[in-house]
């Protein structure tokens, strides 16, 4: 309990914890002290000197409020004459070279300097004449940052917020103060082009118009923008932002510290990757196949065709001849409706999401071990962990917001980072222990760590005996995973394994992060469970800043599975084989439900090839490009009688459909997304769709209608009400309660505030289960295929959205096969050479590159680019792909 301090600000008494700054103390009693260089996310800097306040009775004693802590009995004046004079002079000095070009500056209306100059009336500036003599050419410089932002040096007031946010929050430190005194400028070495994440954090924190985004240049004034809260539709971090709308058009994304969970932080995709909404390539009308080609048609015609086909095939071959796969990008309401359509209107459990591969396994594993199928803690707790084990994750590429948390933990909490991956990820440079292991051997590594923990007596005996079962069996299993054995399997040295185990076990708050989205499939269930074992035996579950934090790739990876886009679970993880669960849904939906678990996505494709599945309904899925084994997928789609694709772009899969339905983007619809930390947040409609485009919600309702199943939803709100009654985890979640910050599930009633952290008061399954997990080798290299293919994810891309986004495309236009320098030399390959990569399933040609992050014996390829056809190499049954690389 911190000591409390009492002081007086402008004669108002305020009591705050020791260590609070004067600025924050003033805010508490509603006194706003102006600032320019202050950003709530950053360590106070004191460079602008605007926030100076006077200590009463001491003339000439002005101190900055932003970093001075309060002291007992302090008497502060925030707007005495001296303070006002000081601020005026500060502003005049800043205006020495800051051109007063407000009428053409995009920051106008949202400019802290403009507001202050107006308030303090510093139009008269005797210092300006001196300033006119200074100001060499550099002050008039304009530098482009990627294609999305521009830096105008003349306007810079050297507050340093851009430099600080790049260092403290992003951990990149690409820009710095160059030079000294009056000649100081912000930039890179010799004004080299920026080579950073282009996240735009610097742009968003700049209080003046020195850094602005070109996307809005001269298009809209800040006061003209209608600002509508929504959630990003890219990754699972669930960042909130404001959509800036003018004339029913999205003009820019505005970040806001006070909404959502991301404190105004966004990445390049969230902040700038929205232009695909206006891409020429977007589907504008339904398409139907006539005479071998796709032609435009009306909704009427499209729906008639679908009705005819679905009814016919259901009648002739039964409901199980139809299947659907829904995207992890759909809102919760749409996902719920999709599975309800297949189960209640069609009568089959053949419904799945591609999120099953890699993410669903992790959730399943944790559900068995701990009780809930999701991340155990919340994102903002990571910054307070003191040991972070990042396992098989490239957070900088897949989950930027989580990477920010790790950076903050490292910078502010002096946390220790253990980075374990099959290649050198970006964060590894900052790690205290870097473990580059043989792909697919994570289970062995963690078992080895558990072995060391037990061997050295570092386990939490109290926790184990009171909260977990299965310890004896676990002990027997891990006994065999000695450091020597694990070294042979993983390729990591014994010392490294032992050090990692010790570091993790000795942390007061140790947390494990496992992401998906690397295009990897493996033994996900076992990976989650072995991680849970490690966390449980060290007592790192149910406490703040600990846990096993599994991170789904997409904006609604968690929600899609919660809502039952799975063949074996009804919404809310209630099994279709469970009589009681089925009965509940049968009563609610007034229809008999199939008791047979359906087919998973890859099984659906296999049976489609064999002709057993005749109709496939794909909602936002693009199997030809993203599923393993492209050749088989093509055969599977070829074997269908009818392929119905609901999409936003004419993807490669859509090009082979019988009917294509144009869907709306996230900015054009209402609904909710559930982020990786189980946070349910509202997505709000900000713009109208093009005339013939409909939301997935509306489209699925039409399908209900043509199949003769009556529903009476007028909006997603009612779907959420139905979800409340059928899914206990979401029981207390309604749109009224989902204000600025959303609600974490489980939320069992409307009085329940939601649960940021799980397992604080025990486990829903009684005691946690320590499930012994054995390492199983995922195939072996043969002479013919000696290298491992690792598909990697890029920060700049995610699915078809980013590929149709000009800015993102320019930043990362093509993919390369990355090789280690030694391997390249051995294979006589130079950077830029085209290489042939062969696997047992197929071969591709791709340009190569030599990168430092690629270890020996591995080749890294990004999986985003359709023309690369990486999935020609991959196999639906083999999690690990072995390849051969040679000169083309």
């Amino acid at each position: 309990m911190a000591r409390m301090v009492t002081l007086a600000i402008d004669d108002v008494e305020v009591t705050v914890p020791e260590g609070t700054t004067i600025l924050d103390a003033a805010e508490k009693v509603g006194i706003k002290i102006p600032t320019l260089c202050h950003d709530k996310r950053l360590v106070p800097f004191g460079s602008c000197r605007i926030c100076v306040v006077q200590v009463k009775g001491r003339r000439g004693r002005l101190i900055p409020a932003c970093f001075n802590p309060v002291r007992d009995g302090m008497e502060i004046l925030t707007s005495s004459l001296e303070v006002i004079e000081s601020r005026k002079t500060q502003l005049q000095l800043m205006l020495l070279h800051h051109p007063l070009e407000c009428p053409t500056c995009d920051q106008a209306g949202a400019c802290a300097l403009q507001d202050m100059v107006y308030e303090y009336g510093v139009a008269e500036n005797p210092l300006r004449q001196v300033g006119a003599q200074l100001g060499p050419p550099k002050f008039k410089e304009k530098l482009l940052i990627g294609t999305m932002a521009v830096k105008e040096r003349g306007r810079c007031i050297l507050c340093g917020r851009c430099v600080r946010i790049c260092e403290e929050i992003q951990g990149v430190k690409e820009i710095d103060f160059i030079g000294r005194g009056f000649m100081t400028k912000i930039g890179t070495d010799f004004d080299r082009d920026l080579n950073c994440e282009f996240c735009g954090q610097c742009v968003s924190t700049c209080p003046v118009g020195a850094l602005t985004t070109t996307l809005i240049k001269h298009k809209a004034r800040h006061w003209e923008l209608k600002k509508i809260k929504s959630v990003c539709a890219y990754c699972g971090c669930g960042c909130s932002f404001l959509l800036g709308i003018k004339d029913n058009q999205l003009r820019t994304i505005v970040s806001d510290y006070d909404i959502g969970a991301n404190e105004g932080n966004l990445c390049v995709k969230g902040r700038y990757g929205w232009e695909y909404i206006y891409s020429e390539e977007r589907l504008k009308t339904p398409l139907i196949r006539r005479g071998g080609k796709l032609v435009e048609c009306t909704w009427d015609i499209a729906l008639k065709e679908i009705a005819k086909t679905l009814r016919e095939i259901e009648k002739t071959h039964g409901p199980d001849a139809l299947a659907a796969i829904g995207s992890a990008r759909l809102t919760n309401e749409e996902a719920f409706l999709l599975q309800k359509f297949m189960r209640a209107a069609i009568g089959t459990n053949n419904i799945d999401t591609s999120g099953r591969y890699s993410y669903e396994g992790l959730t399943k594993g944790l559900k068995e071990s701990l009780g809930y199928p999701a991340m155990t803690n919340s994102i903002k707790e990571i910054r307070n962990a003191d040991v972070i084990l990042v396992l098989r994750s490239d957070l900088r590429e897949t989950h930027p917001l989580v990477k920010i948390e790790v950076i903050m933990a490292l910078n502010r909490n002096r946390a220790k980072l253990i980075a374990a991956n099959s290649y050198k990820a970006w964060l590894d440079e900052k790690a205290h222990l870097t473990l580059i292991y043989q792909p697919g051997t994570e289970v062995a590594l963690l078992n080895g760590m558990i072995h060391v923990v037990l061997e050295e007596g570092l386990e939490d005996k109290d926790f184990i005996s009171s909260q977990a079962v299965g310890f004896e069996d676990l002990k027997k299993t891990v006994a065999r995973y000695t450091p020597t054995t694990v070294e042979k399997i993983t390729g990591l040295s014994e010392e490294l394994i032992i050090s990692s185990a010790r570091m993790y076990a000795q942390g007061k708050r140790s947390t494990i992060l496992i992401s998906s989205g690397l295009g990897l499939r493996g033994d996900e269930v076992r990976l989650a469970q072995v991680a849970a074992n490690l966390a449980l035996i060290t007592g790192n579950v149910g406490k703040e800043s600990t846990g096993i934090n599994i991170l789904g790739e997409k904006n609604n990876s968690q929600g899609a599975i919660d809502m039952g886009l799975t063949p074996e679970y009804l919404p809310g993880y209630q099994r279709v084989t469970d009589r009681g669960a089925r009965k509940k849904f049968e009563l609610a939906w007034e229809v008999r439900l199939s008791p047979e678990p359906g087919l998973s996505a890859l099984e659906i494709l296999k049976r489609a090839e064999e002709g057993e599945i005749k109709v496939l309904y794909l909602v936002g899925e693009n199997p030809i490009v993203t599923y393993p084994d492209r050749t088989q997928t093509l055969r599977a789609l070829g074997g269908l009688d009818f392929l119905l694709v609901q999409e936003i772009f004419l993807s490669e899969t859509a090009q082979r459909a019988n009917v294509v339905l144009p869907a709306a983007s996230f900015a054009e619809k209402e609904g909710t997304f559930t982020s990786v930390e189980r946070r349910v947040q509202r997505v709000q409609r900000a713009i109208d769709s093009q005339r013939k485009v409909r939301s997935d919600f509306d489209i699925i309702l039409s399908l209900f209608e043509i199949m003769g199943y009556e529903v009476d939803y007028t909006s997603p709100i009612q779907v959420m009400q139905e979800i409340n009654s059928l899914v206990p985890l979401y029981a207390g979640i309604n749109y009224k309660r989902l204000d600025d910050k959303g609600i974490h599930w489980p939320c069992f009633s409307t009085e329940d505030p939601g649960s940021k952290m799980l397992y604080e008061d025990g486990f829903p399954i009684g005691k946690a289960k320590l499930i012994p997990v054995e390492y199983e080798p995922l195939g072996d290299s043969e002479k013919e295929f000696p290298m491992v293919l690792i598909t990697v994810h890029s920060l700049f891309h995610s699915g078809s959205f980013s590929l149709n986004e000009q800015g993102l495309r320019e930043l990362y236009p093509e993919g390369f096969a990355e090789l280690n320098a030694q391997d390249a030399q051995h294979l006589k390959i130079k950077p830029g050479d085209v290489v042939t990569i062969k696997s047992p399933r197929g071969e591709i040609k791709v340009k190569s590159n030599i990168t430092e992050r690629t270890p020996l014996g591995r080749v890294l390829i990004p999986y985003h680019f359709e023309h690369l056809m990486v999935n020609l190499l991959t196999d639906k049954d083999q999690p690990l792909t072995w390849v051969r690389v040679e000169q083309a």
Binding site: V130, F182, T188
Partner: protein
Amino acid sequence: METLIINIIENEFPKVKEICESYKGNAGALLLVLQKIQDTYGYIPKASIHYIAKTLMITPSHLLGTMTFYDRFTLTPKRKYTIKICRGTACELNGAPALLEKLGELFAINQEGEIINNSLFSLEQSACLGECDKSPVVIINEHLYAKVTPEMLEEAIGEILSKEKQIDTQKRKVA
């Protein structure tokens, strides 16, 4: 690291590699490393900046930021006479720009503020020297000139030039 950078360092600036070796990954040793390189070569070679940054595991922007903050570190070798014009607030307001203009008349000065047509002098613009009561201040090789006018500056430089000419003539006589 790019082989090109490594080649340049190994062939042209081998001492840079030597100095950096013992501080690999040690970002806190930046000032020490820069001092050693400055003392060895008389300047910090532009070509070595990325190498040093990579070895110490800092960003090149940060390295340049640190380097340009201190006058001790230069990008070009220091010459026999260093003309240091103070650009601190008091000197600035009391005539430093006029002095720079005068230098612009006397010498050819490039975009980076370097004198390119006379190898005797190098030009530095420094932050406040703490002699504000004598503003504007010019220091030429440890000698401080107070309340300098453009004419005084021209005179001082002229004196140095004639002194150097004398030394040169004497050298030739002996030779």
